[in-house]
């Protein structure tokens, strides 16, 4: 992808996604951290679009920015006496060390490996192909995913019931 548009889009969206993720760490208010998380989700959805994954990008916005974020906000609202200052626990420094080690290791692997990528164009229409794959090759995970969602729904309702 050598054209100016792709390069500008990739850099802008990556900066948005990574900067928003860093602000999730650094925000002093939990609600602000959730809003920055939503911004990061939208940035990642934009990155999916630059990779010509239109169905996945729209699904990401629909489920992550539209539903999971609302879920997180409701959970914060329904726990009013919990601390909302987004503080760090006592494992802060070991956590930082582990995260930095993981980042360095993965970065080194990414830069050293020869990824054997071919110069191919963008996908023509992913929505149709994903639909056919879901009902053709991957029908068993599809059905199991529906059972997983049912179990999650029933489990969540039973857990928070006030009996």
């Amino acid at each position: 992808m050598e054209d100016v548009g792709s390069i500008v889009a990739f850099w802008m969206l990556s900066v948005i996604a990574v900067a928003a993720a860093l602000m999730v760490v650094a925000a002093r208010n939990l609600i602000h951290a959730v809003l920055f998380l939503i911004l990061s989700f939208i940035g990642v959805a934009g990155l999916y679009l630059t990779l010509s994954a239109d169905f996945v990008a729209v699904t990401q916005i629909l489920i992550y920015a539209g539903a999971i974020s609302v879920l997180i906000l409701f959970a914060i609202l329904l726990t009013p006496r919990a601390a909302r200052d987004n503080a760090e626990t006592f494992l802060q420094v070991p956590g930082l060390v582990v995260a930095a080690l993981v980042a360095v290791t993965m970065g080194a692997i990414v830069l050293v490996t020869d990824w054997n990528e071919a110069t191919r164009g963008a996908f023509p229409e992913t929505a149709e192909a994903i639909g056919e794959a879901l009902l053709d090759k991957y029908v068993l995970p599809f059905e199991i995913a529906s059972v997983v969602l049912l179990a999650a729904m029933v489990g969540a309702i039973v857990l928070v019931r006030e009996d």
Binding site: S6, I7, F10, S14, A17, V18, A21, V24, V25, L30, A33, L37, S40, F41, Y48, T50, L51, F55, V56, T59, I63, I68, L71, I72, A75, A82, A83, N86, A87, E88, T89, F90, L91, Q92, P94, G95, L96, A99, V102, A103, M106, G107, W115, E117, A118, R120, F123, A129, I130, A133, L134, K137, Y138, P141, A145, L149, A152, G155, A156, L159
Partner: protein, 104 residues
């Protein structure tokens, strides 16, 4: 200077490590869940990048995998928040430093 696979993988790696730090270091249980969601996003980005650059042009298994990851992440977020609310109901806090009955 073009955008290649390694750029997307680096962005994924950075997002993953930021998510890992948030999951390890935040005190609020909801904060930990936010870190886990960041890690899921990084993994999805890596999958889609490989599907775009390495897979054969008609193979959408990367995309299907990402759809399933998003689905399971939604289910898991719902259950994690339900657990956090039940813990809040009993202990009036979701600070993981204080929910330490099972620690040594």
């Amino acid at each position: 200077m073009s955008v290649e696979l390694s750029h997307y993988l680096l962005v994924g790696a950075i997002l993953f490590s930021i998510g890992l730090y948030v999951a390890l270091a935040k005190r609020n249980a909801v904060g930990i869940l936010m870190g886990i969601e960041l890690m899921f996003n990084a993994v999805n980005l890596t999958l889609i990048a490989f599907a775009r650059f390495v897979s054969p042009p008609t193979d959408v298994s990367g995309h299907v995998f990402v759809v399933f990851v998003i689905t399971v992440a939604a289910a898991e977020a719902a259950l994690a928040l339900a657990l956090a609310m039940v813990v809040y109901r009993n202990r009036e806090t979701i600070d993981i430093d204080k929910i330490n009955l099972m620690r040594w």
